[in-house]
């Protein structure tokens, strides 16, 4: 499918979705509540079949958090970037995509560890890199590190 067809397909499911084609890939920006149904559709639809989630991360834009999912279809060889906007910075929550791509389990734990995004229905949501008693979310822009030396 070309980008235009994918756009049409997504618009049909989520009318509020906005698109950004300035970069290398087609970016689709949606609200965090709409994530799970469209992801399921992207994975299972025969013409799309995005079976490979190759990058899952989060960006802290200070006033909101942006979850970024890079998807690729091994069969059709097309790439799409889904961005889910989380507006609640103090208690960020989003549905997990573990059930769709198994690799998401570790990547979501990483995002939880470093950004504090809580993934609803995640099977094992613990800190992955830092100690369990660590305070704060290091990759947030408002994280204060006492050991940091300003250069």
């Amino acid at each position: 499918m070309t980008n235009e067809e994918i756009k049409l397909f997504i618009s049909a499911h989520i009318p509020a979705a906005t698109f950004d084609e300035s970069g290398e890939f087609l970016n689709v920006i949606i609200a965090s509540e709409e994530l799970l149904p469209i992801m399921k559709e992207l994975r299972s639809n025969r013409d799309l079949e995005f079976d490979y989630l190759f990058c899952l991360t989060c960006i802290d834009w200070k006033d909101h958090l942006m979850m970024v999912y890079h998807l690729l279809s091994k069969k059709h060889r097309h790439v799409i970037v889904i961005k889910a906007k989380i507006t609640d910075v103090n208690d960020p929550q989003i549905e997990t995509v573990c059930g769709i791509w198994k690799t998401a389990e570790f990547h979501e734990r990483e995002v939880y560890d470093l950004f504090g995004v809580k993934f609803i229905n995640h099977p094992d949501l613990r800190r992955i890199f830092l100690m369990d008693d660590w305070e704060g979310w290091p990759l947030r822009k408002n994280y204060v590190d006492e050991n940091m030396i300003e250069i």
Binding site: F25, Y52, C55, I59, W101, E105, F106, E110, I128
Partner: protein, 373 residues
């Protein structure tokens, strides 16, 4: 020897052992919690972060020239390829390309790195399975490659040879001759590798049918690199999304459908041949010209998001730069191959024996600092 050594038996009467953080076969500081039934593994739970050095956070404070070199310390066996990925990503943002000469040098260096990485892996696989001698044979060729690296880049392991727009300095005058010598040496000695390990009955028994990973699972777990290709997933970035002119050289993507440890082993062994072939195609055809494109002293990327992927010795490395127009990245994400590859370990090891887990870890070829970053 582990931090959680106290719970000999958990409440349910299960036997739990902690492999790592210090353990000879975890290749660093990976910590695996293993639920056992006799010798049979019921569940494996990886505990990470014993070498989490926060490279992503740190890179947010480094300039676009400097953050590249921190990545040498991620997957230190593919240090050069990691640097390449970052340099390419910055180039993508700047919309420039490395000079033709630099591109060929980059490919040559990347393939040499891949060869040395696979050799180390081969030696360590032997070591993990209890055969000590392969380790020394592997280092024989690895050291020869290291010497080439040292002569041209100035360092043995963390080369720091990449800059956005090319390479840091031109190759050493001896480079071509020495590379040819080493290629000859490797081609002559590769059969010894097969004689020592591959044909051994014990080795075959230890690896065949062990740690099976199906194609669907491999894709779902995001397993890439030789590990993914051994499960039949075509995932060589050099073929799929060619960079640096990989589309101009002839090489095969090695695929195997068995998905067991032996398949992973054979895929890597055959990849060494392919790397040798790539190097031989290019070594006499290094174009003349500049080794660096002129770039500004302070690099500033335009506002936007850039994603670059390369094929390291372990799989697909993705560099995701989010720029807000400043002199240092706003956010950097490294999609490291080992992190995804490791996530499949529980799936692969269930029902296997402790010895199988060692074989699985060995053939996954894990580099722990790349997982923790």
């Amino acid at each position: 020897m582990s931090l959680l050594g106290e719970d000999i038996v958990t409440e349910d009467g299960e036997f739990v052992i902690n492999m790592g953080p210090q353990h000879p076969s975890t290749h660093g500081v990976l910590h695996l919690k293993i639920w056992l039934d006799g010798e049979t593994i019921k569940r494996v739970q990886p505990h990470l972060g014993y070498i989490h050095r926060s490279i992503e956070k740190m890179s947010e404070n480094l300039s676009y020239r400097n953050f590249i070199f921190a990545t040498s310390r991620m997957d230190y066996l593919s240090a050069h390829i990691n640097n390449e990925a970052c340099a390419l990503c910055v180039e993508k943002g700047l919309q420039i390309e490395a000079t033709p000469r630099a591109q060929v040098i980059r490919i040559l260096m990347a393939e040499l790195t891949r060869l040395s990485s696979h050799q180390l892996w081969w030696g360590c696989t032997g070591l993990d399975l209890g055969a000590v001698t392969p380790f020394f044979y592997a280092f024989r060729e690895r050291e020869a490659i290291m010497e080439i690296m040292e002569e041209t880049c100035g360092a043995r392991l963390t080369m720091n040879y990449m800059v956005p727009g090319g390479v840091m300095y031109d190759i050493h005058p001896n480079f071509q001759k020495r590379v040819k010598d080493v290629m000859k040496q490797i081609k002559n000695n590769l059969h010894e590798y097969f004689e020592i390990l591959t044909g051994n009955v014990i080795f075959e028994n230890r690896t065949k049918g062990v740690g099976y990973l199906s194609k669907e699972d491999a894709i779902s777990y995001g397993v890439t690199g030789p590990t993914g290709r051994a499960s039949g997933v075509s995932c060589d970035v050099r073929k799929w999304f060619p960079y640096e002119g990989y589309d101009k050289v002839q090489f095969d993507e090695i695929l195997d459908n068995c998905g067991d440890c032996y398949a992973r082993y054979m895929v890597r062994m055959k990849e060494m041949d392919q790397s040798v072939s790539i190097i031989e195609q290019l070594i006499d055809n290094i174009p003349e010209g500049d080794f660096q494109t002129k770039t500004k002293n302070v690099i500033k990327l335009p506002k936007g998001e850039f994603y670059q992927r390369v094929e390291t010795a372990r799989g697909e490395l993705g560099v995701f730069i989010v720029s807000d127009g400043a002199a240092s990245p706003y956010r950097i994400k490294y999609r490291s191959p080992n992190f995804s590859n490791l996530s499949a370990i529980d799936h692969m090891a269930r029902g296997a024996k402790i010895g199988d887990l060692i074989a699985i870890m060995a053939t996954l070829d894990l580099v722990i600092p790349d997982i923790d970053r």
